[in-house]
C-alpha cells in the first residue's frame, strides 16, 4: 500500500440522465463535481453523489464486487462494471457515465434488460441430457473436458457485450453474443446431449450468421471472456451438422 493512499483529486462526473429532473421524455447531461479518493470506484462515487447530493440519481448496483453484473454501464465510452472501475485509473478529470446502449432506458442509468433475458432463454440455457445420471454418483467429466467450459461458464449476464455489438444495433431481433456464449457453454459441455435443441434458435437470420466478427463484445466483456471465439466454434459445429 502506497503512502499516498489518501491522495484525492477533483473529478467532474458527466451523467447522461433520463426520466428525471422534470425533463421526463428527454436525455440530458448533468455534471457533478466530486473529490475522489484513491481506490474509489465509479460505483463508490455514484453512491456518494446519490447519498450526499442528489437522491434522484438512479442506477442498479448490488454486490459491489464485480460478480453480480448489476452495474454495467458505459464509462468514458467503454462498457464496464462501475463497481470495479477505479476512477483514478481512468485518467483525465471528466468521467462520462451513460446507460448501456441498445436497451430501452427506464431511468438515468437503468436500462430494460428484458430483451437480454428473452434472447438468453431462446437458446435453452440449461444442460439437456437424455441418459439418466448415475443414481448415487456424479457424472464423470475429465479435467480436459471440464477445461473446455473455462471462459464460458463465468458469464455474469451484465449485458455489456450485446450492448456493444453493431449487429445488435442494426437488428434488435439479433440474439447477441451473450446468448451465443451461453449456448456454447452447454454445447461444449461433454455431459450435454441437446446440441440440436440449443442450435435451433441460432440457425436463423437473426442468429449466428449475423455476427460479422467485429470483436466489440470481446473488448466490452468485464470478465475478459471471448464471445467471438465461442461464435466461431458454434459456426464450425453448425456447418459440420449441416454438411452432415
Amino acid at each position: 500500500m502506497a503512502a499516498n493512499e489518501h491522495e484525492t483529486k477533483l473529478f467532474t462526473f458527466r451523467v447522461k440522465r433520463y426520466g428525471t429532473g422534470g425533463r421526463e421524455k428527454e436525455h440530458y447531461n448533468q455534471d457533478y463535481k466530486l473529490e475522489v479518493m484513491k481506490g474509489q470506484s465509479v460505483l463508490d462515487c455514484l453512491n456518494e453523489l446519490r447519498w450526499k447530493h442528489d437522491g434522484t440519481l438512479t442506477f442498479r448496483r448490488s454486490c459491489k464486487s464485480g460478480i453480480c453484473g448489476s452495474c454495467a454501464m458505459t464509462i468514458n465510452g467503454v462498457n464496464r462494471l462501475a463497481c470495479e472501475t477505479q476512477v483514478m485509473a481512468l485518467g483525465g478529470s471528466v468521467v462520462t457515465v451513460e446507460p448501456l446502449k441498445g436497451y430501452p432506458v427506464i431511468k438515468d442509468l437503468v436500462v430494460d434488460i428484458d430483451p437480454l433475458v428473452e434472447k438468453l432463454l431462446a437458446v435453452k440455457p440449461y444442460l439437456i441430457t437424455k441418459t439418466p445420471p448415475p443414481s448415487d454418483q456424479e457424472r464423470l467429466q475429465s479435467q480436459a473436458d471440464r477445461a473446455k467450459l473455462d471462459g464460458l461458464y463465468e458469464c455474469i449476464l451484465c449485458g455489456a457485450c450485446t450492448s456493444s455489438c453493431p449487429s445488435y444495433w442494426a437488428d434488435e431481433k439479433y440474439l447477441g453474443p451473450h446468448a451465443f456464449l451461453k449456448a456454447y457453454r452447454f454445447i461444449a459441455d461433454s455431459r450435454d446431449e441437446g446440441a440440436r435443441e440449443h442450435f435451433e434458435a441460432l440457425d436463423d437470420k437473426h442468429g449466428l450468421w449475423r455476427c460479422h466478427t467485429i470483436f466489440n463484445c470481446v473488448e466490452a466483456c468485464p470478465k475478459s471472456l471471448n464471445p467471438t471465439k465461442a461464435i466461431a466454434a458454434l459456426k464450425r459445429e453448425l456447418a459440420k451438422e449441416r454438411i452432415g
Partner: protein
C-alpha cells in the same frame, strides 16, 4: 372473511394497487435457498419467484470457495467427521439433529447439482474436486485439515446460482424480478401471501399463494465494512418481526477474516485452504499464537479475533487496520488455476498482483448465523419452538434451523442454503398435497404496505436516509463487531433508539414511481434498524463469549446459563426474550481448541 379486490382499496391512498397474482407457491428471494426450493416445488406445482434483484444478481453468486460434502473423492471422509466439525465449529450451539441432516444429505445435494449441470472442477479421475477449508478436519478433529469443499475454481457460488436459475427456467418457474416484498399477509396463523412493490414501474402488487417461502438472505450490510451486497438488508427477518413473530440467535454475526482492505470484499478462505499465510507487521505468521495446530485453517471466529487483536495491539501493517494474506509462495500457476477470481479482485480493487505482493486484508461483516426460526422441514415457528405458521417456510441465511449455532464453518453456507432450500421445496409439496386450497386474502392485506410507501413518499422531515445509515453502520462496526462489551453495547442501544427516532423524520428527494431507489433505500434502512435493534439487544443480553459473539467483559463460554438459543420479539417498542434448549445428540460440549 371479506376478500381483497383491487377496486376496493384503490382510493385508500395515492399509491396504486395494480394486480393480484395467484400462484401455488410464492418464493421470496432468488439465491440458492430460494431457487433450490423453486426447482424442487416446480416439479409438481406452479411456483413464482419474487425478488428485489434479477435472480442471477443474488448474493449467493459471490460465494467463492466451495460447498462442503463428505464425498471422499480425494481422501477418506465420513459424515460423522463433518458432523463433529460442524458441531465444534458452532461452539456447541448448533442443533445436532439438524446438523446430522445437513451432513448426511450433503453428498446427495452436491451430486444433484452436478446432475443439473453445475461446472464443478474435477479430480484427475473425473470426479468432483475437493479442497481444504477452515475447521474441516479428519477423524473428529484429531487429524489434519481435510479435502471436503467441492468447488468450481473460486467461483462456486456463481456456478451454483446460475445452475439453479437455468433449472428454474427449464421447469417453467415464473419470475417477478425487481419486485421488492414489503410485507407478509398472515391472519389466524395462516400465511396467505405477500405484498410487493414493483420497483421498475411503481405500485403495489399482492402475491396470493397457498405457500410462501422466504429465502431472502443475510443482513451484514448493517456494518460499515462488509463483504455482503448492498441489497442484503435483512428484509426477511425484519418482515417476520413486524408480523409479531420471533427471531433466533440474532447476536451471532460472522466476520470473515479476510476482507479486502477498505472495500471489505471477500477474499475466499480458499486462499488459505490452498496454503496462503496470514502475516503481521513483523512478518510473523501470527496464527501460531492463536491456533497452533490448525494455524490459518482455524475457524473464522478464531481467525477474525486473531487478526483484530493483532490490529488492535498495533501489529497491523505499518500500524494500520490491516494485515497481509500472502499467496506468493503458491506460485503463479496455482494462483491462476485455483484462485483466479482472488487474483482479479486484488488487481481490480487494490491494484495488487497477488503473485508478486501480499494482499492487505481486514475482518469484514459477512454472514448471519441467526434468523427466522424453523423446524427441520423449514416450517417457520410462530413461537420459535414447536408451533408452525401454516403455509410459511424459510431457509438459507435468513433462517435459523440452527446448523451453524454461534459460528458457521466455511462452505457450510452454500450447503445449508441448498440443502434446506431443497427440503423446503419438498416440505411445501407435502403441505400442498394435504392443504390444496387457497386461504382467503383479507380485504386489508395491502394496507400496511401502502401506508409504509405513502409515509416515506410524503415524509417532510429534514433527516437524510444515507446519514442515518452511515451512522448506524459506523456504530455497529465500532461496538458490535468482532469484540463487544457491555458498556459499549449499552451506549449503542441508546444510539440505535435515537437513530430510529431520526428515521421517523426523514425526507427523500425522489418522489417518482419509476425505479425509485430513494424509496427502496429508505425502506431498507427501516428494516436494517429493526434487525440492528434485535442484534444489539441480544448481544447485550448474552453475558458470555461463544463463537462469533465475543464479550470482553464475559470472556468465557458459560454452558450452565447460556447453552440455549435466544428467541427475540419486538413488543411495545422494546425487545423481549425467551429461550429454547440446544438439541444435543452425539457430541457433548467440550472446550474448543484448534
Amino acid at each position: 372473511m371479506a376478500t381483497l379486490d383491487p377496486e376496493t382499496i384503490h382510493d385508500v391512498t395515492g399509491v396504486p394497487v395494480h394486480n393480484i397474482h395467484r400462484h401455488d407457491v410464492v418464493v421470496v428471494g432468488a439465491g440458492l435457498a430460494a431457487m433450490r426450493a423453486a426447482v424442487e416445488a416446480s416439479k409438481d406445482y406452479d411456483v413464482a419467484v419474487v425478488s428485489k434483484v434479477f435472480p442471477t444478481r443474488s448474493h449467493s453468486g459471490a460465494a467463492q470457495g466451495g460447498i462442503a460434502a463428505s464425498l471422499a473423492n480425494e481422501e477418506e471422509d465420513h459424515w460423522e467427521w463433518h458432523m463433529f466439525d460442524t458441531v465444534k465449529g458452532s461452539d456447541y450451539l448448533g442443533d445436532q439433529d439438524a446438523i446430522e441432516i445437513l451432513v448426511k444429505e450433503a453428498p446427495i445435494v452436491v451430486r444433484e447439482y452436478e446432475h443439473m449441470g453445475a461446472p464443478f472442477s474435477r479430480t484427475p479421475d473425473g470426479r468432483i474436486a475437493q479442497r481444504m477449508f477452515g475447521g474441516h478436519t479428519k477423524d473428529f478433529g484429531k487429524g489434519g485439515p481435510i479435502l471436503r469443499a467441492c468447488y468450481a475454481a473460486d467461483r462456486t457460488g456463481h456456478a451454483l446460482l446460475h445452475t439453479l436459475y437455468e433449472n428454474c427456467v427449464k421447469n417453467g418457474v415464473r419470475f417477478y424480478p425487481e419486485f421488492y416484498v414489503l410485507g407478509l399477509v398472515i391472519r389466524d396463523n395462516i400465511c396467505r401471501g405477500v405484498v410487493a412493490w414493483d420497483v421498475i414501474n411503481g405500485g403495489v402488487h399482492v402475491f396470493h399463494g397457498k405457500a410462501v417461502m422466504f429465502g431472502t438472505g443475510g443482513h451484514a450490510r448493517i456494518y460499515k465494512i462488509a463483504s455482503i451486497s448492498l441489497s442484503s438488508t435483512g428484509d426477511g427477518p425484519a418482515m417476520v418481526l413486524r408480523a409479531g413473530l420471533p427471531l433466533e440467535d440474532m447476536e451471532f454475526v460472522q466476520f470473515h477474516p479476510t476482507g479486502l482492505y477498505i472495500h471489505g470484499i471477500l477474499v475466499s478462505e480458499a486462499a488459505r485452504g490452498e496454503g496462503g499465510y496470514l502475516i503481521n507487521d513483523a512478518g510473523e505468521r501470527f496464527m501460531k499464537k492463536y491456533a497452533p495446530e490448525k494455524m490459518e485453517l482455524a475457524p473464522r471466529d478464531v481467525t477474525s479475533r486473531a487478526i483484530q487483536k493483532e490490529i488492535d495491539e498495533g501489529r497491523g501493517i505499518g500500524g494500520k487496520n490491516y494485515v497481509y494474506c500472502d499467496l506468493r509462495h503458491l506460485g503463479e500457476e496455482k494462483i491462476m488455476t485455483l484462485l483466479p477470481q482472488i487474483h482479479e479482485l486484488a488487481w481490480k480493487f487494490l491494484h495488487i498482483d497477488c503473485v508478486k505482493d501480499p494482499i492487505p486484508i481486514q475482518p469484514t461483516g459477512h454472514y448471519s448465523m441467526g434468523g427466522i426460526p424453523t423446524d427441520n422441514d423449514c416450517r417457520v415457528l410462530a413461537d420459535g419452538k414447536s408451533k408452525p405458521v401454516v403455509g410459511f417456510f424459510a431457509a438459507g441465511e435468513c433462517a435459523c434451523v440452527s446448523v451453524h449455532g454461534a459460528n458457521r464453518l466455511g462452505t457450510n453456507s452454500l450447503l445449508e442454503a441448498s440443502l434446506f432450500g431443497r427440503r423446503a421445496g419438498k416440505s411445501i409439496v407435502r403441505f400442498l398435497r394435504e392443504e390444496p386450497d387457497l386461504a382467503d386474502l383479507p380485504v386489508d392485506a395491502a394496507n400496511e404496505a401502502i401506508a409504509e410507501v405513502e409515509g416515506i413518499l410524503s415524509a417532510a422531515g429534514a433527516e437524510k436516509v444515507s446519514a442515518i445509515r452511515a451512522e448506524m453502520q459506523a456504530e455497529m462496526s465500532a461496538n458490535c463487531a468482532v469484540f463487544r462489551n457491555g458498556c459499549n453495547l449499552e451506549k449503542l442501544s441508546e444510539e440505535v433508539k435515537s437513530l430510529r427516532e431520526r428515521y421517523k423524520r426523514i425526507r427523500i428527494d425522489d418522489k417518482s414511481m419509476t425505479f425509485n431507489m430513494d424509496l427502496t433505500e429508505a425502506i431498507e434502512l427501516g428494516r436494517m434498524l429493526d434487525v440492528t435493534e434485535v442484534i444489539v439487544a441480544g448481544a447485550l443480553n448474552r453475558t458470555e463469549s461463544r463463537g462469533a459473539h465475543s464479550r470482553t467483559d464475559h470472556p468465557k463460554r458459560d454452558d450452565v446459563n447460556w447453552l440455549k438459543h435466544t428467541l427475540a420479539w419486538k413488543k411495545d417498542g422494546s425487545v423481549k426474550f425467551d429461550y429454547r434448549p440446544v438439541v444435543i445428540t452425539r457430541f457433548e460440549p467440550k472446550e474448543r481448541k484448534y
